[in-house]
Symmetry: C2
Subunit: 199 residues, 2 copies
């Protein structure tokens, strides 16, 4: 048997309330009680549905994550499978940054619970693994494992938020920075194309 009608209604109300609260307020002022109150349910209902606040945030992010994972796993190149390795790397960086810019409040909520809630999230593991692969394919000579983590860290929602809100960098400056972080050949030694083979 499916979910009871009232349960479904409450689930939706809770998700709506949580999303709007996370968008609106400072993270520390979003409490379980407040979410329940805005959703018009009791605290216990929120917890029974989602386990804890982390589970609730997970449920909010899940569809966005799934959408991007689909495009990465089976969409059009260069974001999807196939295409030039360098183009694949940069398309992926663009997609990740767009995802972060779009979901920043939810991601920050996720980061807010537990020190490694962000990295530990299965989706993040996927992002990092994919990033590692694409860096390795595009730049065989670097430590892709480390660089992937460094780039992914530069794409943390709190970092991006900080650069925008407090250092007044716009999205395109950050985007350019991330690209050249992952692949400095584009910007640093200016104009030296087609020298990928060491010897």
């Amino acid at each position: 048997m499916g979910e009871r009608a009232d349960a479904a209604r409450n689930r939706a109300a809770i998700l709506d309330a949580a999303e709007s609260l996370f968008q609106r307020a400072d993270l520390d002022h979003v409490s379980l009680e407040r979410i329940a109150q805005v959703a018009g349910v009791g605290k216990a209902t929120v917890l029974r549905r989602f386990g804890d606040l982390l589970g609730l945030v997970d449920a909010l992010i899940a569809p966005r994550v799934a959408a991007l994972q689909d495009r990465v796993r089976s969409g059009e190149p260069p974001l999807g499978p196939g295409g030039d390795p360098v183009a694949r790397l940069h398309a992926y960086l663009d997609a990740l940054l767009d995802f972060v810019l779009d979901s920043r409040t939810l991601i920050r909520a996720l980061e807010h619970y537990g020190p490694y809630a962000y990295y530990a999230n299965p989706a993040s593991q996927f992002w990092i693994g994919e990033l590692t692969d694409r860096i390795r394919a595009a730049r065989p000579t670097v430590d892709a494992g480390y660089l992937a983590h460094a780039v992914f860290t530069a794409l943390r929602a709190d970092v991006v938020d900080y650069l925008q809100q407090h250092r007044h960098m716009d999205a395109e400056r950050i985007r350019a920075g991330v690209h050249s972080l992952a692949d400095p050949r584009l910007t640093d030694p200016p104009a030296r194309p087609d020298e990928r083979n060491p010897a």
Copy 2:
């Protein structure tokens, strides 16, 4: 008049207790009450001395920060003033990473209070400013403002901790990664020395 003897004793006891607790336990299990208890004083005594927990952590880190700032501002080159710009950059990165490795538990405690407690800290502003200058001097063609923040983020205590504890990267791998993040010319186009002038 100076500080009363009992006050000085308590200040020292509190600092000791806090430091050892931050070293030993998970951050969330270090509470004001626990610190006071270990120090053998009341909670109010801790707060009167240091304002709040953030102030206490600040007081713990301050001497380490001051020591490094001295070396940077008036020590021997290349960490101190003077010397080759590239060497200055790399000496600085080494010093920053050593500082983080050495003070990681305290820095993580600092990061634990407030989302931007780390970046907002005056010392961090100094580190980032200095890093920006050194990147700009060593690599005039890149966006030093962005890159400095990205590198500094890669040096966050929580990030370094994560890479060591959960991804099993040793300190030297991280060190190499940070260096090549800040100056990819060293590693990426392999073995191409002395081509610093674009034309």
